[in-house]
Symmetry: C2
Subunit: 369 residues, 2 copies
Amino acid sequence: MNTSVSSSAFAPLKNDTFIRACLRQATDYTPIWLMRQAGRFLPEYRATRAKAGSFMGLATNVDYATEVSLQPVERFPIDAAILFSDILTVPDAMGLGLSFALGEGPRFAHPVRDEVAVAQLAVPDMDRLRYVFDAVTSIRKALNGKVPLIGFSGSPWTLACYMVEGAGSDDYRLVKTMLYARPDLLHRILQINADSVAQYLNAQIEAGAQAVMIFDSWGGVLADGAFQQFSLAYTQRVLAQLKREHAGARIPRIVFTKGGGLWLKEMGALDCDVLGLDWTVNLAKARAMVGDSKALQGNLDPNVLFASPAQIEVEAIKVLSSFGTPYAGEGTGPTHIFNLGHGVSQHTPTEHVAALVQAVHAHSRKMRS
Amino acid sequence: MNTSVSSSAFAPLKNDTFIRACLRQATDYTPIWLMRQAGRFLPEYRATRAKAGSFMGLATNVDYATEVSLQPVERFPIDAAILFSDILTVPDAMGLGLSFALGEGPRFAHPVRDEVAVAQLAVPDMDRLRYVFDAVTSIRKALNGKVPLIGFSGSPWTLACYMVEGAGSDDYRLVKTMLYARPDLLHRILQINADSVAQYLNAQIEAGAQAVMIFDSWGGVLADGAFQQFSLAYTQRVLAQLKREHAGARIPRIVFTKGGGLWLKEMGALDCDVLGLDWTVNLAKARAMVGDSKALQGNLDPNVLFASPAQIEVEAIKVLSSFGTPYAGEGTGPTHIFNLGHGVSQHTPTEHVAALVQAVHAHSRKMRS
């Protein structure tokens, strides 16, 4: 499928701070965006969500998806927008039947649990995901060059968790039973997922995404040894297939493994530009472990946003100081993209997010002077 | 309260493999026990639970608690027994009103969320926990020296999570809001918890516990920096108050922080004998990080027990090999206690546990020859 949009369709980028930091180039301040920034903590999001009727009604409608992706960028001076979508669109396109029951998480009507189901699995026709690529192009146009647009996907392993479990899980018993009892079946699922995710992200890039992020939300539940074999190897299989450039611009690739702090040394060898980190990781130690080949993104505990603005500033400064002064010369060096260590909570006061963005911008400018 | 029981009331210990390994002394094979071994995966447990009527009916009745603590020791040749109880007995004794709704987790009628509630909190009269100490004495007698008995408690931080949240949580929003917004209140709770846990564990030791374990089940949800200040420091406050010896025997102290792998270097400085590890940790790296002052306990993924007995053996050998050959000389050196990285799942086939125990005993004997 051709999702390619002529670069002349898009306005030039005015704020490239995020892209520069991803590529380990010097910036005037530390850029910030928040995972799940287009989400329930915003009253304007809840209003659009109510109009759309359902979560998938929101995610599959180009106008609504554009509206909610733009909302945080309009409200806060953040440095990147992210596509509004769900990480489970790819297995849905494989025919697994995604639904969201009210007040519950996602659920698949047809989980993949046996040899027969695995044999039927294939890389989906990307045309079934056209609504996502159309949303990417629409959001990019609507941004009008204000900040760059990040596309994303779940990692092969994280998608497999939902595909086998059929829903969220607290012990991952079914997918881990397959891992230990029938690793051949799980490897087959992961190969298909990796190739699907690569096609999916490349199509997002062609449609206008200026950076892409792989969310390995459940990599951290794996045992040492299993993580390398069943998560990391397939994230690398995705990365190896991704476009490095599009329309003359480099496309930074970000990998975020929640709970992956113990494997940072191995993640440092991934062929990507940025590693996302959760709040359990010490940024100074991470910088030492990963080495100078990657930018780091993260990692404030989202619950800090329930403290007072003054305390939020204190904690934001702790995170900035933990990374240390970012690179300020020519060429490339160590850089930091500020983010939370996980998605922003739906209960977060919007004015506290404003205080965080303000604190990160102001203090990180001071650090450089 | 005096819970002390004359040591002449108890039979001499026949199998001291677990105690020796805790104290970093050479053993003929690697001892094994399983977290939550007295639990729902055993049909005989479910039968006793049905007789008792409720979970707390089971935990507070000395005869039932003795019966279920003995069941895994009777069925499998494991090397330690553990008191059947709940980690939330201490806050219950503080008057928070613990209950277990059917099919749900624990719940407190009176969560501790504000200044007034914190001001009312105090170390409970240990007499309110006499049912626990009576169970310890009864189990120790019933074991008749077959294997040692482990007593336990939740860590100050883990107890605080439940006390503030009022129940389990998936984001720890309330307790972390207190942590960031009112750290003074949380420190007060943690001081009281630490002193309560120390009294509680000392009373278990006097009643007959031959080792004690602190379960820091939720330490791993804390941010770097917060973990050291709000979990580790209070675990150390407990350890500093614990009896080292009782009735002429040393009492090993075990600390297990789920998700604590990133902080192993700091945990290596704790004044305890053994560190428990979950399955995300590489035992060889852990051994290098912790140094030679601690025995290590763990760390098979409980989901391995859903694979075939042949595959269970393969994975058990991987864990044993990852630790490497334990110390075999005079004096003390690096030792390993085999366990799961978390509690055994209620869905585990009992014959698979038997296969695991057999594999660990047989292979670890071979490793030493």
